[in-house]
Amino acid sequence: MSASRDIVESGPARIGTRAAPARPRFAWLNSSKGLGLVLIMPALLLVIAFFLAPVILTGVFAFTNMSTATGITGGAYQISPGALRVLTDRYGMGELAERLGQPTYVVDEQGLAALAEMEIDQDIIDGLKRRLGETFSSRRDFERVIRDLPTRPNTRTVKRISDAFSRSLANARFASAGALMSAAEAIDPELTDDEKAALREATYTGWSWTTDNFRRLITSPQTMRILFNTIFFVAATLLIFNTGFAMLLAIATHYIPDRPAGIFRIIWFLPRISPAVIYVLLWKWLAWDTGFLSAFLDNFGIRPRNWMLDSAFNAWVFVILINGFVGASMGMLIFASAIKAIPQSLFHAASVDGAYRWQQIRHIILPHLKWPILFVTCYQTLSLLTSIEQTLLSTDGGPGGATEIWSLAIYHTALNNYAGNLQYGYGAAMALVLVVIGIVLSLLYLRLFNYRALIIKPRIEH
């Protein structure tokens, strides 16, 4: 307040000298720009924290192979059977894998010390000491060497000796790549650099950067199925309910008296304002094998069943009904208000021009609803693409993945995996695809709703 008074008192001549010493430090707060920035800051921070940051993180995670198995921090190097299989399959180093998987016999100080502890005859130890550093890839070869020693140990002793020198990397776990390499080189000193790199990658248990998620997304037949499900879900719900049924409701309520029309609209608004869990629970109760439908149809000799999950067709019917009734209210509201905005005189004019009710709908109401229809279509496409709770609560994508839609698949992949291995990276990649689709559609719609196109330029001549 005092700021604006200052400006008035100092007059327009002073405006150019804002930065003069008379102005204290927070002078920028007095400009509408500065104050606006301060006022919008809380909202800006919230947007950054709850929208921008998750989107960016999703983008980051999408390029990793994070999962429950890898964890989200670092990892170790483990020569697991799985890692050896990767080495064989992905890098074509089957021979190396076999060598690492097989026990190898190395005559080393560690083994000799073990022999001493086992109180093996000193002659044998001395005999083996002479062969220090030698490696045997098969037990038989090594035992032959032992038997050939001058002391000729018996078979039991030979087995105990060979066990002491058995050096296997199978299931060995190393904290660092260096430790892994020195152990591997102990077994096979002639490892090439390629082999080392392959080994490092194959045995790493932590997450790593990768674009495999997208490759997998494109090649997986599951993707096509989910994509088709999603398109079907969005198109059917949109067409039948969010615009079609909403329009029907709006037009019907336009032609009935105000009070009943109001009550009718409120009834259709209930699904939107009731909590999703309770709303879906009512539907489930309707469809359970002991629920209303089954109990009612039982009277006509129809076998009780879970109508919702009985077949893929039924599941889709319910998913679309459940989502549609929620979505229809918004379209109804927008269409009804758009119809209300049509001047009554246009309907009068159409009546005297000979147009009956359905012709009025066709020639007066529908042309006026062009923009509301476009708007509802665009808006609801986006919200249906990301809608999850009703479908999750009702069919959870079932039966057998028949109603698995994209958003639900993301949830199932990244956060609630049946197999127990939550694939954060892959889920994030799927989410990123959804975000990109959403942004592209939004931009498209923004272009579509160009205000300049909305307003007709008047060319009035008198």
Binding site: P343, S345, L346, H348, A349, A350, S351, V352, D353, G354, A355, Y356, Q359, H363, I364, P367, H368, K370, I456, K457, P458, R459, I460, E461, H462
Partner: protein, 352 residues
Amino acid sequence: MRILLDKFSKSFGAVKVIEDMTLEIKDGEMLALLGPSGCGKSTTLFAICGIHKVTGGRIYFGDRDMTDLPSQERNVGVVFQSYALYPHMNVAENIAFPLRIRNLPGAEIKRLVDEMADLVHIGNLLDRRPAELSGGQQQRVALARALVRRPNVLLLDEPLANLDAKLRLEMRSEIRRIQLETGITAILVTHDQVEAMSMCDRIAIMNAGQIIQIATPKEMYRNPRTTFVAGFLGNPPIAFVEAEARDGMLAVKNADIRLPVPPDAVTPPDGTPVIIGIRPENLGPEGDAIIRGRVSFIETQGRENLYDIKLENGSVLRSIQRVRDDISLDDEVEWRVRSDRLFVFAENGERL
């Protein structure tokens, strides 16, 4: 086509707007329904075109009873106050709409639309949207749309109310020209007496759901049946003074003014209170009865001046005369009035 409203009544809920109204509009005639707002003139119009269902009575177009037909089947053309043009259609489509609804062949529609556009002079605007038209142009389009189906009757609901003064003058004569050229029966609803008088063959003046008088504009102006009619017609309006019958003359109350009873009026018995109506153009230098007063207001109108003169008793009369320099404010004047142009009304407003 002749239109007949026979004992027509209309109520909205408990509110009776029109009761037992009988009105006949002759074939090819243009009739004005004139009255203040809320008098029921628009209600009458909406009943004729079928937008409102009547509560009682019958409506005939020619010999045909239209009372129970929906507006779609009455074949009436209506020009609404707001024009009610379809904003999403261009001018040609607007005019063609009644024909399209009737499923006329395209070539026929085009011919009729062009013909009508020529009649109302908007042939060059056919591709425009209503939003790109001026008020007067929209008015013409609305007229064309109303006329293109060759309606039984043309109904005009305050058609000039939304136009500016200059355009109103132009459209007044335009609508009349078009009505005469097409020879259509027309009903004009208006609250503006100038419109009613300048455009119509006859005027039905309404008040509170009743028709007070039906007559030609000239007759109604010269011979108003009540003070309401006399007061509604004429600009500047008529002035009334209270008087009393005395010795075969009319003595203005509390003033030394005595006026003769006009020849067409019955002389009331002595002591009867009456109301005398004097039109501004009948008060001036010429006449046979004298009126004295003081000039209390002068309004310059260009060609003429309007003088208010205050009588002894405080009532005000108006006089319109050519501009003269010999009169100024507060002058005592002695003007005359033609006694055969006086209107004498009873206390209840009825003409004597």
